[in-house]
């Protein structure tokens, strides 16, 4: 028994020691679709070209990236590389790749998205590679429109136009829900900006209580109460919990679904030929702004790593145009790499509907307001997303009036900024 134990311990010790010599790199990855699988596959080529380097892709749920990774990083026990979405919020832990890579290539390829990874500190560090660019926008059940005999609003249609059209379609086809927006402050921000909200001003001051934000909050609460919006999505949850309405849309119970480009793969594979769907981008606000929210995920290295050169080499490998284009095509994402975007991507195995949807989302990028880009790169945006989801939900269920909810959002934001410092 003792012998066995001893042998076990020795094997364990050797097992731990061996990869350390072989430069083991741990990559904490989450998938919206098949991203981690594709990275794992692509990185075997990197391993073949760099003997002695072992990149281990640890696939984790998205929740682990949001909740566990920051704590691991603060405790100094995080992975070497991770795929993250809190781009600016974790910037203090990022490894500056600049000393190890070709700065000119990176700046030419990733442009403004590099700024999202610099957080509040700013500067000119190259902290991460934006691996998938996303943009929020609306999916529409075209079959229901056809059945109802209602004409789909045009490209410049407002949120009001779409609400009216969706209500008519739902009434005519006995569909339970005319509209739904994912329960997160990120999705809420697009229409709020279209209604005139500044959210993050040019000088970097955040606000969740200006006139535009209050106007869309009031409108959204009203739509939830009059049945235009699927009440289940925002009122059915507590706290800042994320809730989407993709399943309702897939089930044909929803006419207009405001989500984002990352859902294309899921729609493509699950809706099939149940009904025709299409992407119509972001509707406009009363002032004519038609902004969605940009976003997405990026791959970053952490400064606590034992092998900064290898970590930089791995990320630089993934940032090369041919590799980036391949991953984008295989994962059906929008590219943030300007070279890849210009050359165009042939999405592998995508149906005509999915290809059209991705093109529609890509075309919508031009309408994204500057404040939306600022919000995406703002270091405390996660706190603001949470505050929005919580307080707007309280207004929907009647715990707070719209005015009180807006006042609470202002107070919460002030407290969060004080706590974050």
């Amino acid at each position: 028994m003792t012998h066995l134990k001893l042998l076990g311990t020795t094997a364990l010790a050797l097992g731990l020691a061996a990869p350390a010599m072989a430069q083991e790199i741990r990559f904490m990855c989450y998938s919206d679709g098949n991203e981690c699988e594709v990275y794992d596959d692509v990185l075997t080529r990197f391993e073949a070209a760099n003997p002695g380097v072992d990149v281990i892709v640890d696939v984790v749920p998205y929740q682990a990236i949001l909740e566990n990774l920051p704590i691991q990083l603060a405790a100094g026990s995080g992975p070497d590389i991770a795929k993250v979405t809190d781009l600016g919020g974790l910037s203090q832990y990022y490894l500056d790749l600049a000393p190890y890579i070709d700065r000119a290539y990176w700046e030419a390829s990733f442009g403004d998205t590099l700024g999202w990874y610099r957080g509040a500190a700013g500067g000119d560090a190259i902290n991460g590679m934006h691996s998938q660019l996303t943009i929020t926008g609306a999916f529409v059940n075209a079959t229901l429109f056809e059945q109802a005999g209602v004409e789909m609003p045009g490209a410049d249609a407002t949120w009001d136009d779409w609400a009216e059209a969706a209500r008519s379609v739902a009434a005519a086809t006995e569909t339970p829900f005319p509209m739904a927006i994912d329960r997160t402050g990120h999705r809420f921000a697009g229409p709020a900006i279209s209604y005139g909200a500044a959210i993050v001003a040019e000088d970097g001051t955040p606000t969740l209580s200006d006139e535009g934000f209050a106007a869309f909050t009031a409108q959204f609460v009203e739509w939830n109460n009059d049945g235009t919006m699927a009440r289940d999505v925002w009122a059915g949850q507590g706290g800042a919990t994320y809730q989407d309405a993709a399943q309702e849309f897939i089930n044909g119970e929803l006419v207009f679904y405001y989500s984002g480009s990352w859902q294309v793969g899921r729609m493509d594979s699950t809706v099939g030929d149940l009904f025709d769907w299409q992407v119509v981008g972001s509707p406009c606000g009363p002032a004519g702004v038609c902004s969605g929210m940009p976003g997405g995920a990026g791959i970053v290295g952490f400064s606590a790593t034992q092998h900064p050169e290898v970590v930089a080499a791995v990320i630089d490998f993934l940032a090369q145009e041919d590799i980036y284009a391949e991953v984008t095509a295989r994962t059906r994402n929008l590219p943030a790499h300007l070279g890849v975007a210009q050359a165009g991507v042939e999405f592998e195995g995508a149906s005509p509907a999915a290809a059209a949807a991705l093109s529609a989302f890509a075309a919508d990028l031009a309408d994204v307001a500057p404040s939306a880009f600022r919000y995406q790169g703002y270091a405390n945006n996660r706190a603001m997303f949470g505050i929005t989801a919580e307080r707007v939900s309280q207004a929907i269920v009647g715990e707070l009036s719209v005015e009180d909810a807006v006042a609470r959002m202002a107070a919460d934001l002030e407290a969060a900024l004080a706590d974050a410092q």
Partner: protein, 370 residues
Amino acid sequence: MRWPGWPPTSRRRWPTRSKGVAETKGQGATAPAPPPEMTALRGAGDGFALRLISPVMRLVEIPMIALQRLLGINRLAWVFLAPNLLLFGLFAFLPVILNVAYATTGGANVMLADRPQIGMGNFERLLDCANHLDPNTCREDKFWRAVWNTLWFVTLQVGIMVGFSLLTAIVLNGKIRARGFFRSVFFFPVLLSPVVVALIWKWMLQRNGVLNAFLDWAGIGGYNWLVDAQWAFAWSVFLSVWAHMGFYTLILLAGLQAIPRDVYEAATMDRASPWRAFRRITLPLLAPTMLVVLVLALIKGVQTFDEVYAFTGGGPGTATTFIIQYIYEEGFAGSPRLFGLSAAASLLVAFVLVVLTLVQLWVNRKSVDG
């Protein structure tokens, strides 16, 4: 099989501290011989095994004797206690101390050394209210909503649960058919994981759930239970009662069975009605058990988190957000992570739980003392 020299009689004394090691060793040398039947049972192999084990045991014995010489026999007890003390210290006492330390610091940093000291700032923030009865007037309105929700929940859940448990225990204590089967049926939900309980009931009560399908079929029409604040709260109470009732029923059943039969027989001979027997015999004699059940249920009620969190997520709005969920969300799920604030809130909850436990101990002692 009894060893003739065991247990030690009053004539034989254990070595005292003043007499020390020499006597202990000497006693070992003059220990009584093993009983003849045991000697007979021993084979030749035993002697061999002893010869093999003895040197190994000597390896342990030598340092122990040295320690004993060094510390004296009474203080040697600490050596044996040390591993346990270390584990408890590390995993029970240290976290409590850390919790207190975090509660007095602010900011969003994880490492204690990086966190600024703010004294009682977190407690002041939590307790800052114009009117504690109206959460909207409080600085941390979510905390007070959670407090009032928890209070309502505990009152309803404990009241209903103890009532139903008592009723069920009385029925299951009677002479009914398939008694064993029914006892297991009522206990079964206790065995389920709280998350499973929540998912089962969510599956039944959601918009397209089983209950609504039945109501639609019956022509009554379904209802979106989990989006209505009052209904979501009511169903949370129901689900919690359903999940935990069996445990308390079992305790009350044991209490009922401990009541002597002859008291009831005497009551029957005096022509007491069953209701009178219940009021004058069952309830008073069950009181100590009832008290344990009440206090246990209260403590468990205050700690409610997992089943309701998986059931409603604390919604709609904050209708089913209880105090433990508030602590979790402030400290871990939200951004920035306010470890200080949630540590302070958890200390306030701990204080309430300690008070409840002390009440239990006090009343228990009172009832035992008579």
